[in-house]
C-alpha cells in the first residue's frame, strides 16, 4: 500500500528583493510505501526541506500533487507528523504537556490523555522526563519527545527535517541506534531529511539522493544488509563512498 505519493510536483519561490523566481523543486515524483523508511540526502539548498514541507502540507506545490493514502495533501493534518530541526516543542509546556497537546480535541478524559502520553513517552524512552521542560533536555531527548507527540497523534506518517543535526557525532550515533530500534519496532512510515549519509544508510530502506537548482531526485540507493547488521558493515561503507562521490559531483 502506498503511504505517500508525489506526482510531478514543482515548487517555485519569488524573491521580491531580487525580482526573480527560484525553482526549489521541479517535476519531482516520489513514492513511499506503508512502513517504509526513506531518507533524503543532498547538498545544501537542493530543496530537501521544501520537499518535506510539501509532503507535510505546510506548503502547496505550484503544479502536480501530493497524496497521502490516496487523499490529496492540501494542509497540515495530524495523520502526518512534521518534526522540525528544533523539535517543535513549546518551551513553556512540560514534556508531558507537549505530548498531550494534540490530544486535547479528543474525547478522552484528562487521565486517559495523560496515560496515553506517558505510554508514548515510555516507547521513546523519555518517560522519566515527563515533568521536565524542553530547555532541561538535550537535543536528542527533545527529538524523542517530538516523536512521542507524533505517536500520541497516532500519525501514520512521520516527516523529520534534520532532527539530529545539532548533536555531536557521538550523541548522534547513540540516538541513531535508538531510532533504528524504535522505528523497527513500531513499523512507522518515515521520510527523513538529513545531512548525515551514514545516518541515512543506517536507518533507511531507501536513500534518495537529491540535486538542486532545480531540486530533483538524481539517484536512489537501496542497501541490502539488514538494518540490525548495518553498523560497521562493508556494504554500508561502500554505499557511503558512492553517495559521497555522487554528491561531490553535484556540488
Amino acid at each position: 500500500m502506498v503511504e505517500l505519493e508525489a506526482k510531478s510536483i514543482s515548487k517555485a519561490y519569488f524573491l521580491a528583493h531580487e525580482n526573480r523566481c527560484i525553482v526549489a523543486v521541479q517535476k519531482l515524483d516520489f513514492t513511499l510505501h506503508v512502513g517504509e523508511f526513506v531518507s533524503i540526502v543532498g547538498p545544501s539548498g537542493c530543496g530537501k526541506s521544501t520537499l518535506l514541507r510539501l509532503f507535510a502540507g505546510f506548503e502547496t506545490p505550484n503544479s502536480g500533487g501530493v497524496f497521502h493514502r490516496g487523499d490529496a495533501v492540501l494542509s497540515p493534518h495530524h495523520s502526518r507528523s512534521f518534526i522540525p530541526q528544533d523539535s517543535g516543542l513549546f518551551a513553556w509546556l512540560s514534556i508531558e504537556e507537549n505530548v498531550m497537546l494534540p490530544l486535547h480535541c479528543s474525547t478522552l478524559s484528562y487521565d486517559q490523555k495523560r496515560e496515553k502520553a506517558l505510554l508514548c513517552m515510555e516507547k521513546t524512552g523519555i518517560a522519566s522526563f515527563a515533568k521536565a521542560y524542553p530547555r532541561e533536555l538535550s537535543g536528542g531527548m527533545k527529538q524523542r519527545a517530538a516523536l512521542s507527540r507524533a505517536l500520541a497523534m497516532e500519525s501514520q506518517l512521520i516527516l523529520m527535517d534534520e532532527p539530529f543535526s545539532a548533536l555531536d557525532e557521538v550523541s548522534r550515533e547513540v540516538i541513531d541506534e535508538a531510532m533504528q530500534h524504535f522505528f523497527s519496532e513500531n513499523r512507522m512510515s518515515v521520510v527523513l531529511v538529513t545531512h548525515s549519509i551514514r545516518e541515512a544508510l543506517l536507518l533507511s530502506d531507501r536513500v534518495v539522493i537529491m540535486q538542486g537548482l532545480p531540486g530533483r531526485i538524481s539517484d536512489v540507493i537501496v542497501p541490502k544488509t539488514p538494518k540490525e547488521k548495518r553498523h560497521k558493515s562493508a556494504e554500508i561503507e561502500t554505499l557511503y563512498e558512492q553517495i559521497v562521490e555522487r554528491l561531490k559531483s553535484h556540488v
Binding site: A56, G57, F58, S75, P76, H77, H78, R80, S81, F82, P84, G88, F90, A91, W92, L93, L101, P102, H104, C105, Y133, P134, R135, R149, M153
Partner: protein, 258 residues
C-alpha cells in the same frame, strides 16, 4: 544581609546629605527657602497625623490618583491587547496600526488636554482619556509586533495538531507573546502614571497627587509638592521593579528565556 542593609542606609544617608547641601546652595544663591529633608519629614509626620492638603487627606489624594490611573490603565490594556491581537493577524491592519500608535506615542501628555476637553469636557472622563491614550501605544505596539513575529510554522504545527482556536490562542499565542506583552504593559504603566500629573490638571475635582503638585505651585507649599512627587516615584518603583520586574523574571523563566 547586614552588609546590603548597611549599604542601603549609607546610600540613603548620602542622598540626604546631597539634598541638604543642594538646598543650602539654592538658598544662598536664590535667597529662597528650599524644602530640606527635615522639613519634609516633619510635614510627612503631620500629614500622617491627619493634617489635610487642600481640604483632603494625603491618603485620599493618593487613593484617588491610584484609582484614576488603575481604571485608565485597564482601559488601555484591554484596548491595546485586543487591537494588538487583531492587527497582529492582519498585515495591512498591522502597518496602519503601527503608524498610528507611533504618532500617538510621540504626543506628550499635556498635548492631550485640549483634545480631552473637547471630547469629554471637564471631569474624570477627560483625565481617564488622557492617561489611557498615553498608556495605550506601547501596549498595542508590543502586542501586535510580538504576534507578527511568531513564526508561521508555529501556526502550521498547531493546525497539524488539530488545536482549536481558543487552545491555539491561550496555549500557544499568549505564551509566545507573553514577554513582549509584559514589556508593553510595563511601559504603558510607567507612561500612564507619569501623565497623571498633566491629566489631573483637567479633572476639576481638587483631589489627586497631580492636583496637589499643581496647586502647591500657586500656594507656594513646596513641601507638599516634594511629598507628592516622592509618592509618585514610590508607586512607579514598586510597580516597575517589584511587580513587573518579578513578573517578567518568572515569565522569562517559564517561556524558556530565563
Amino acid at each position: 544581609m547586614l552588609k546590603s542593609t548597611a549599604w542601603a542606609l549609607g546610600g540613603f544617608g548620602a542622598f540626604l546629605l546631597c539634598w541638604w547641601l543642594f538646598g543650602l546652595s539654592v538658598e544662598a544663591v536664590r535667597h529662597i527657602p528650599f524644602p530640606m529633608p527635615k522639613d519634609i519629614l516633619m510635614r510627612v509626620y503631620l500629614l500622617f497625623q491627619g493634617e489635610s492638603i487642600y481640604d483632603t487627606s494625603l491618603f485620599s489624594h493618593f487613593m484617588m490618583s491610584l484609582k484614576r490611573w488603575m481604571i485608565a490603565y485597564c482601559i488601555a490594556t484591554f484596548c491595546g491587547i485586543v487591537l494588538g491581537v487583531l492587527c497582529g493577524f492582519f498585515e495591512k491592519a498591522y502597518k496602519v496600526g503601527l503608524h498610528v500608535s507611533t504618532v500617538l506615542q510621540m504626543m506628550p501628555g499635556l498635548a492631550w488636554i485640549p483634545f480631552a476637553m473637547i471630547l469629554f469636557g471637564i471631569g474624570e472622563r477627560a483625565t481617564l482619556f488622557m492617561i489611557a491614550m498615553s498608556a495605550f501605544p506601547p501596549i498595542f505596539i508590543h502586542t501586535a509586533s510580538a504576534l507578527r513575529s511568531i513564526s508561521p510554522q508555529t501556526f502550521l504545527m498547531a493546525k497539524m495538531m488539530n488545536l482549536s482556536s481558543s487552545r491555539l490562542f491561550f496555549t500557544i499565542i499568549m505564551p509566545s507573546i507573553a514577554l513582549s506583552l509584559l514589556t508593553g504593559l510595563r511601559l504603558g504603566l510607567a507612561i500612564g502614571w507619569r501623565v497623571l500629573i498633566a491629566a489631573e490638571m483637567v479633572v476639576g475635582s481638587s483631589v489627586g497627587l497631580g492636583y496637589t503638585i499643581i496647586q502647591s505651585r500657586w500656594s507656594l507649599d513646596f513641601e507638599v509638592a516634594f511629598i507628592s512627587i516622592g509618592l509618585i516615584c514610590l508607586v512607579g518603583i514598586v510597580a516597575e521593579k517589584w511587580i513587573f520586574g518579578v513578573l517578567e523574571q518568572k515569565v522569562a523563566k517559564r517561556v524558556g528565556n530565563g
